[in-house]
C-alpha cells in the first residue's frame, strides 16, 4: 500500500479564520508558488459561466452552502461548464478536492460561514487547480453576484461541515 501526500505541508498554516478572506486573496506562500507567472491580472475576464443544466461542470460556490435556500436550484444556477474547464486546462477533481478540504478545515474553527469566506475559499480552490488568481477572483465574484441576483441569501451551512 502506498499513500503519498502530493505536497508536503508548508509554513502557511496556523492563520486565524478571522483573516481568512484576506489570506486567500493574497494567496498562501505555497499557493503563490504554484500560480502561473501571468496571474493576478486584474483585467482578466474569468471563466465563462452557464447554468449547470446547460453545460454541466463545476458549481461555484459549492452547492451545499445554499441548497436549503428556496431561490437556489442546482440546475439553474450558473457553473463553470465542462467545456470551459477543458478550455482552461483545469482538472475538475482538483477544484472539488480543494473546496472540500478548505470548507472542512474552516468548519473546525467553529465560525459562521459568510460570503467573504465563501469568496476566499472558492478563489483558492480555483487557483490551486491551475486558474490564475485574477481569473479565479473574477469568476467567483461573477458567480456570487449571479446567486445574489437570484435572491439567494447568505450561506446556509458549511459544505462538508456536518449537519
Amino acid at each position: 500500500v502506498e499513500k503519498r501526500p502530493g505536497h508536503s505541508r508548508d509554513n502557511s498554516r496556523g492563520h486565524s479564520a478571522a483573516n481568512a478572506a484576506a489570506r486567500a486573496e493574497a494567496g498562501t506562500p505555497a499557493a503563490a508558488a504554484r500560480q502561473p507567472a501571468d496571474s493576478t491580472t486584474e483585467s482578466e475576464p474569468g471563466a465563462a459561466l452557464r447554468p449547470y443544466g446547460e453545460g454541466g461542470g463545476h458549481h461555484v460556490p459549492a452547492k451545499r452552502a445554499f441548497t436549503e435556500d428556496p431561490n437556489y436550484d442546482i440546475d439553474e444556477v450558473i457553473a463553470t461548464p465542462n467545456s470551459e474547464l477543458d478550455a482552461q486546462g483545469i482538472y475538475h477533481p482538483q477544484i472539488t478536492g480543494a473546496q472540500k478540504s478548505l470548507y472542512r478545515e474552516f468548519a473546525k474553527t467553529g465560525q459562521p460561514l459568510t460570503w467573504d469566506v465563501v469568496r476566499s475559499i472558492e478563489t483558492q480552490a480555483l487557483t490551486r487547480a491551475g486558474m490564475s488568481s485574477g481569473s479565479a477572483s473574477v469568476t467567483v465574484n461573477k458567480a456570487i453576484s449571479a446567486l445574489q441576483a437570484r435572491g439567494v441569501g447568505s450561506p446556509v451551512r458549511i459544505p462538508w461541515g456536518g449537519k
Binding site: G6, S8, Y52, K63, Q94, T96, G97, E105, G130
Partner: protein, 137 residues
C-alpha cells in the same frame, strides 16, 4: 434487450461518467493543462518508462472516473440508491447532500479511509489551513 429504463441508465452512465472522465483526463494533452495532477503525469512521461507512467497515471484516472460517478450522483444526473447491510436504503442524491464527490477526493476522505491501493493526496497541505480547531484552542 434490457428495458428502456436500463438503457436510459446505461446512456447516462456512459455519457455523464465515462465520457466526461475521458475528456477530463484528455485535458492533460492541452498545452495549457494546469494543476498538480497534470504536472505529475508530465513528469512520469518524461521519465519515459512504462512502469513510471502506469504507477502514476492509473490511480489518478480511476480516481477521476469514480469522482465523476459521484459528481453525477451529487448533481442528480444519476438518481441512484444504495441498500446497506442492515437493510436500510438511502437515496444517494438526497442523503449524500451533494457532497459525495468531495468526500471521495478531498484530503482525509474516503480514499484515505478505505482504499488499500495507492493514491496521491493533493490537498494534504490544507490540513490546519485556518489554524487550530476550536477544540484544539
Amino acid at each position: 434487450m434490457p428495458s428502456p429504463e436500463i438503457e436510459e441508465f446505461a446512456k447516462l452512465l456512459l455519457q455523464k461518467v465515462r465520457d466526461v472522465a475521458i475528456r477530463d483526463c484528455g485535458v492533460a494533452l492541452r498545452p495549457n493543462a494546469a494543476g498538480p495532477v497534470f504536472k505529475r503525469w508530465k513528469e512520469a512521461a518524461h521519465n519515459g518508462n512504462l512502469e513510471s507512467i502506469v504507477r502514476t497515471v492509473v490511480p489518478d484516472i480511476v480516481d477521476n472516473t469514480v469522482f465523476h460517478l459521484l459528481d453525477a450522483i451529487d448533481n442528480r444526473l444519476l438518481k441512484l440508491s444504495f441498500t446497506a447491510a442492515n437493510g436500510k436504503r438511502v437515496d444517494l442524491p438526497t442523503d449524500g447532500l451533494g457532497e459525495l464527490a468531495g468526500w471521495y477526493i478531498g484530503t482525509g476522505g474516503w480514499r484515505a479511509l478505505y482504499s488499500q491501493e495507492r493514491f496521491v493526496d493533493d490537498f494534504a497541505d490544507l490540513v490546519g489551513f485556518f489554524g487550530p480547531s476550536k477544540e484544539e484552542k
